[in-house]
Amino acid sequence: MTPTSWRAAARRLRANKAAVAALSVIVSLVALALLAPSFNPNTVEALDWSHVATGPALVHAHWFGTDRLGRDLFVRTLEGARTSIAVGLAAGAVSLSLGLGFGAVAGYVGGRTDYWMMRLIEILSGLPLIFFVIFLTVIFGRNGAVLYVSIGAVGWLTMARIVRGQALSIRRQEFIEAAVACGASTARIIGKHVVPNVLGPVIVYATLTVPQIILLESFLSFLGLGIQEPHASLGTLIAEGAAEMEAAPWILLAPGLYLTVLLVCLNIFGDGLRDALDAREPA
């Protein structure tokens, strides 16, 4: 993409009111998660025995209430949101680099290499990957690194397909021929010429991957297979809330709403970005 087309895309994005609104909600939610806990006197693990499972109140600054152990839910929800967002970004980065590298090589090199790389993708997308993630957490224990890598490994297949499609068409253009004529190595051409030119669709798909990953992490944490106590993620908080729903519904509401609003906005923004960059997934 040229600088002009980037500017045109930015203009189209700004004209999309829903996407702009979604972006501002995302920014404020993230800012809230990063900054707000320091404005609240409570800490993540402090137990307040005089307020066990109390509802939202201004007393002792328990703005979202407390849980069964008297831990403050405002701070815990935002702490959990930080974890979830961090996992989303880290695993998103894993899946982005895997997909980008794999797709660019397959698309640019082409021929038999491309054929076998794409067969591999086909077999992998036939697998029920979520069950493999569960399986891996069972086998290698529930530690963070396994979680990030295995979640990231789920998201890269579509990314690889998209990048490959783009790389296939870039390969035939003159500037690549010029680079080859100048004697640039294949690795250099892929890194310097192919990758920068596929960034548009990659950015779009990455913004749509992050909510999927956050959802997957919360899903696993909800089942008790992801983030472990005393750490919290939105998934573990929702699990606690669902268990205490009848007696203390507010434990469910704060993390549930935060997660839902975040996911809805990320999806709306991703869709807006896709329309602005006019990047469609290959059929």
């Binding site: 069950f131 669902a242 009848e246 469910l252 999806n267």
Partner: protein, 310 residues
């Protein structure tokens, strides 16, 4: 059609084989054996346990045995539920999960397709706005948030429906789980139907049908629906996968005794054979459903049959 089916089947069987093999060797890679977490056992008893489960044999022998047993539909013993084999647990849980899943899929199709059609016919009217916002929300709200919220509203506050639990044949216990499970695919199906229908309705053969003076109902049901549903058919396999994944949490929250709950319990207890069996089961169901969906897709869209799928 038959040739197409055989071609798809030939592609599916190796996938299943790879899944079984990969999963089997992954469990054997796991650090520590399945009996490690209990009180440390005297070596003789440990050896007896190992040989009772065939774990003293070389891995290749175990693998061969597992494959042969699997061919007979025998998933081996569960390491944690001592009195049950994995096949017995599956036999207990599968009917519940299938009932839940097929109801959810039926609801998603039964509401999603009419909603998408309505929304395409009345573009920019209230129905359209409803469908579009439902599509955005439904795709983003996870079922493990939705189900507790529904339970809070209809169970705890209004007392209309039970929050959790299971009685054989009781519809009331299934309403909330099915609703939570079907919303994400429902939303997506409505969205796909809407765009498919919009595209079909603007094509020349629909204009011809209108010019003939056919009533709208006949145009939709007889001409427009089939081509408009092609994208929906393409989405069915992911929809089934999402329902099966969703059933893990939904069964756990609602306390339904299905296979999803066994998988989660097995994963928490590190019951290798149970998890292995469940992964094999879920994969085979997914692959079988994928085949069925491919056939449906080929029936809806003849082009699929004749061009080799990428």
């Amino acid at each position: 059609m038959l040739r197409y089916f055989i071609k798809r089947l030939a592609a599916a069987l190796p996938t299943l084989f790879i899944i079984v093999t990969l999963s089997f060797f992954l469990t054997r890679l796991a650090p520590g054996g399945p009996f490690d977490e209990e009180r440390s056992l005297p070596p003789q008893i440990m050896a007896n346990l190992q040989s009772a489960y065939g774990l003293d044999q070389p891995v290749w022998v175990q693998y061969g045995r597992y494959l042969r047993a699997l061919g007979r539909g025998d998933f081996g013993p569960s390491f944690r539920y001592k009195d049950f084999t994995v096949s017995e647990l599956i036999g207990q849980g599968l009917p519940v999960t299938l009932e839940l899943g097929s109801l959810a899929l039926a609801l998603a199709l039964g509401i999603g397709i009419p909603l998408g059609t309505m929304s395409a016919l009345h573009r920019n009217a209230a129905a359209d706005a409803l469908a579009v916002s439902l599509a955005v929300l439904g795709v983003a709200i996870p079922s493990f948030v939705l189900l507790p919220l529904l339970g809070l509203l209809f169970g705890v506050t209004l007392h209309w429906l039970p929050v959790a639990g299971w009685e054989r044949g009781s519809i009331r216990h299934l309403v909330l789980p099915v609703a939570a499970l079907s919303l994400p695919p429902l939303a997506y199906i409505a969205r796909l139907t809407r765009s498919g229908m919009l595209e079909t309705l603007s094509s020349p053969f629909i204009r011809t049908a209108r010019a003939k003076g056919l009533p709208l109902r006949a145009i939709i049901t007889r001409h427009a629906l089939r081509p408009a549903l092609v994208p929906v058919a393409g989405y069915l396999a992911p929809a089934i996968a999402s329902i099966m994944t969703g059933s893990l949490v939904v069964e756990s929250i609602a306390g339904l005794p299905g296979v999803g709950r066994y998988l989660v319990q097995g994963a928490l207890n590190r019951d290798y054979t149970l998890v292995l069996g469940m992964v094999v089961l879920y994969s085979s169901v997914l692959i079988a459903m994928g085949l069925l969906v491919d056939l449906l897709h080929a029936w809806l869209d003849p082009r699929v049959r004749f061009s080799a799928p990428q």
